[in-house]
Symmetry: C2
Subunit: 90 residues, 2 copies
C-alpha cells in the first residue's frame, strides 16, 4: 500500500495496464533514467505489486493481480464494516 506513494510509481503501474513492459519500454515512455526506474521497480516488487519474467537480456514486468485484488478486498472491508455499524440488531 505504502508503495503506491510515489507519482512515478503510479505512472509505471499505469504503463503496466497494457501488459508486460521492460525497463527499456518505461525509459522510452517516461524519460526517467534507468537507475531511477530500477529503484521504483524494486519497491513495487518488494510490495509484491508486480511480477517479473526474464527473457534473455530483458526483464518483463507486469501487474500482480492477486496483490491488487487483496487491496481491493481490504478497501471493501473498510467500507462494508462501517456500513454494518449503521444497521443494528444482528
Amino acid at each position: 500500500m505504502v508503495s503506491f506513494s510515489d507519482p512515478f510509481r503510479l505512472e509505471i503501474i499505469d504503463l503496466m495496464m497494457d501488459g508486460e513492459v521492460c525497463v527499456c519500454d518505461i525509459m522510452k515512455l517516461t524519460k526517467l533514467s534507468q537507475s531511477r526506474i530500477s529503484y521504483h521497480i524494486k519497491i513495487l516488487k518488494e510490495a509484491s505489486l508486480i511480477s517479473d519474467r526474464q527473457e534473455g537480456r530483458w526483464v518483463y514486468y507486469s501487474l500482480n493481480k492477486e496483490a491488487l485484488f487483496l487491496i481491493k478486498e481490504w478497501i471493501t472491508s473498510l467500507t462494508d464494516y462501517s456500513s454494518n455499524k449503521k444497521r443494528c440488531c444482528e
Copy 2:
C-alpha cells in the same frame, strides 16, 4: 493514493472502519500525539479520503466511501484492461 503511504495513516483509516472517531479517540487508541494525529488527518482530508463533522468541541472523522470506491475502480481498470490483452479478436 499517495496519502495511503504512511503506516500511521493506515492505522487511523483502520480505526475509522468502526465508524466515526474524533482525534481524542485516536489518541486513546494509538498513543500518538495530538498534533501528529492532526497532521495525518489533514493529509487524509486533503486526499478526500475522510470527511469531518463538527459537534461542539469535537470533530468526528469518517471514511469517505465514494473516494474509496473510486480507488477500487481504478484498481479494477488496471487488472481488467490487462486481462483483455490476453484475449483477442473482439
